[in-house]
């Protein structure tokens, strides 16, 4: 199969954490006045509790009180419905917003408020920890040039034959229009050097042996307890009931080749810079 894919959209907070603790990057703190709900009582205390010690204290409190649902790595849990807290937060866009959610909970959901006797500074430390899971992309200094990276993407690397960016490109790999929002430059580089490191289930492949002896292979568009749906290299869709097939084999490997040999270090750097620049345009306030 000539199709290609990149690794899963992992949201490793590792780089962000290092960044905050080493002071290499600036903490990304939105103005507290933004989107304050009328019922909120929080004031902007975030700037008072964002030292490395506060973040560590917040991390400790998080592991104890929050990790059961949100995960020890704050990346959420589909089974409990607890969201990933390492990317863009849907319910809060400011420190005060995060504070209020922790303080008051979200009515009608499993998100309960913290106990009333937990002091405000502890909640602010938690806010600081959650903020430490993100960083300002503008502060990241990259070796490559984003403008030059568009060349290997469309040309030598043939990335666009499989990947879509802003509506242009193939459908045999993830749409990369906003890949910079969810992946660190380190993640992006690793994806190109070692595509098999982490592949999202949607981009696994399945080989199905039918009762007629025919073997078909393609992307795992969907697999559930009873059925399979695959898309072959020619973009044909095939559906199967598991009970009607002879057998099937699943591969969790990527279909994308590694680019460590095909591209020079400089080209890879440029490509990383280009991909990292792919994010949603910030709408004017």
């Amino acid at each position: 199969m000539t199709t290609a894919t990149i690794t899963a959209l992992r949201k490793l907070p590792g780089l962000a954490k290092t960044a905050v603790l080493s002071g290499a990057f600036v903490l990304y703190l939105s103005p507290a006045t933004e989107l304050l709900s009328p019922a909120s009582h929080a004031e902007d205390g975030g700037t008072l509790y964002n030292t490395a010690v506060d973040i560590r204290m917040g991390n400790r409190y998080f592991e104890r009180q929050c990790s059961r649902c949100h995960g020890f790595d704050a990346k959420g849990n589909d089974e409990t419905g607890a969201p990933d807290l390492t990317g863009t937060l849907r319910r809060a866009s400011s420190d005060a917003g995060i504070f209020n959610i922790i303080r008051e909970g979200i009515p009608g959901t499993a998100m309960l408020p913290v106990a009333a006797d937990v002091p405000d500074p502890t909640v602010w430390q938690l806010v600081a920890y959650i903020n430490s899971l993100r960083y300002d992309p503008a502060s990241v200094d990259l070796a490559g040039n984003a403008g030059s990276g568009a060349d290997p993407f469309g040309g030598k690397g043939e990335c666009s034959s499989c990947h879509m960016v802003n509506g242009q490109g193939g459908r045999l790999g993830p749409d990369l229009s906003r890949v910079g929002e969810n992946q660190t430059p380190e993640d992006l580089l690793q994806s190109m050097l070692d595509p098999d490191a982490a592949v999202a289930p949607r981009w696994w492949t399945i080989q199905v042996a039918g009762r007629d002896g025919e073997v078909r292979e393609g992307f795992r568009m969907n697999e559930d307890s009873f059925s399979l749906r695959i898309m072959d290299a020619d973009a044909n869709l095939w559906s199967f009931q598991k009970r009607d097939i002879e057998s099937y084999e699943r591969s969790e490997q990527s279909t994308m080749p590694g680019y460590g040999q095909a591209l020079s270090d400089g080209e890879l750097d440029d490509l990383v810079a280009y991909l990292f620049s792919l994010r949603r345009e910030v709408l004017p306030q």
Partner: protein
Amino acid sequence: MKKITNPFPPALAAAFLGVSFLVSAPLQAQEDPFSTVITPAFSPITWERLVNADDEPENWLMYSGTLDSQRYSLLDQINVDNVDQLEMKWAYQIPVIDRAETVPLVVDGIMFITEAPSNVVAVDALTGRQYWRYDHDMPDDLRICCGRNNRGVAILGETLFMSTLDAHLVAIDARTGNLLWDKEVAPHDSGYSKTAAPLIVKDKVVTGIAGGEFGIRGFIDAYDPETGELEWRTYVIPGPGEFGNDTWSGDSWKTGGAATWITGSYDEELNQIYWGTGNPGPDWNGDVRLGDNLYSDSVVALDGDTGEIEWHFQFTPHDVHDYDSIQIPILADIEFEGRERKVMMWANRNGFYYTLDRTDGEFLIGKPYAAQTWAQGLDPVTGRPIRVPGMAPTYEGIMVSPPIVGATNWYSPGYSQDTGLFYVTSFDGEQEFFKRDEDYEEGERFTGGGGRYTQPMDAYHSSIRAINPGTAEIEWEFPIMPRSSAGITTTAGGIVFTGSADGYFFALDAQSGEELWNISLGRRVHAAPMTFAVDGHQYVTIASGNVVYTFGLRN
């Protein structure tokens, strides 16, 4: 107490009766929560009827169907030959958006469904239409580990008994939904909560407690059904001077967890109540509670009258992986090594299946039934696990199987009297376990660590497994995906009914494991199916997402 039982909302009534009524009607509704709606008559549920529940398979009279918790129904109208003709008869949409873990009861055509957080509704089992509802008034400072769940009610006479998330036990008139009494079992703001259906034993309501992640001290209680008075309390962590207290270092027994958060079983002949117990606390840091930590991760057998512990069997001594023994004990009399034995079948969260003699807790046989890396095996005489060294959680994290959610968990297993097989929803997963140092603070989580998956859930193997209780060998398995938290019900029609996390409700051949029928209900099945009959027609009911579905054969 807050109740909304009027099926004719005041505003609507006002629209019919004229504007002048609008002023007084809402006031009246607020002042007087008394329900005037009455269900059709049903015959009161006596203890004798509960003991002989399998004599009336048209009714589903308790959480696990019968006191032996086999979840085996004698109904066979729906069977291996016609189950593929099932069609949906009705759906009841739960108004609270959460997840339904309820197993409804059916008494003479009336169905009682519990809802998150702790409500109950009575509906017509033929149509799903509501007779009445009870909404429990809930404080806003709950301490719950894992969601707003309620799993069902118990019935005795004409009274329903329900656990509530604020750690109360309530008695509700099954005819009207009116509250009869409301008893605080334990203080909710200290971390206690209640989610499981109670178990009726003779003239008492027996019930456990949740809160194992908050440093509680677990117990099993019995209440007077008339008055709500506590008849006895048996702590499953022994106090000073009692047998087993020395299996806890220092004062750790006071905050040792061992929550009793699922329903138990009862053997009338032996007059023993069997109940599983949860993890010791803090879950993942055993340094502060050295010793075996009795009776955490155990099954305890209690005297049916006094609640005294007659025997115990600890599946996981000094657990550091959160392997609660919160599984429902399945009781049956089977031939074991050529001899008729009264056994208890148990697939544990720790990855091992056990057959015990329930008269005295003797270990008969046990083997792994799912992926596990923490034990080399079980001692062939005592059944005690032989640990793999170095598998306790660390500060840096260590990969162990089963993961925290376990090889199975609270969801009901099943047993078929026809095949003699035991059926369990199982998971072959793994997780990185972390240890942390924490001091106990009342009402705060007290877990000492946590866990992390390193792969997407689809990468792990899940299945329904059929185990031979005589050999502890797996007879067949049916793969599903991803990890399921659905319970299992078997029938004399030769069927195993269960559900999956990807929203299927399905039927397997109990003998062969072959797929017979499935339907996608669109949302995770978090509950066990139950089956009943009205007017000679058999139905099967399952909750998926926020909906309770009832299926029957095409007319």
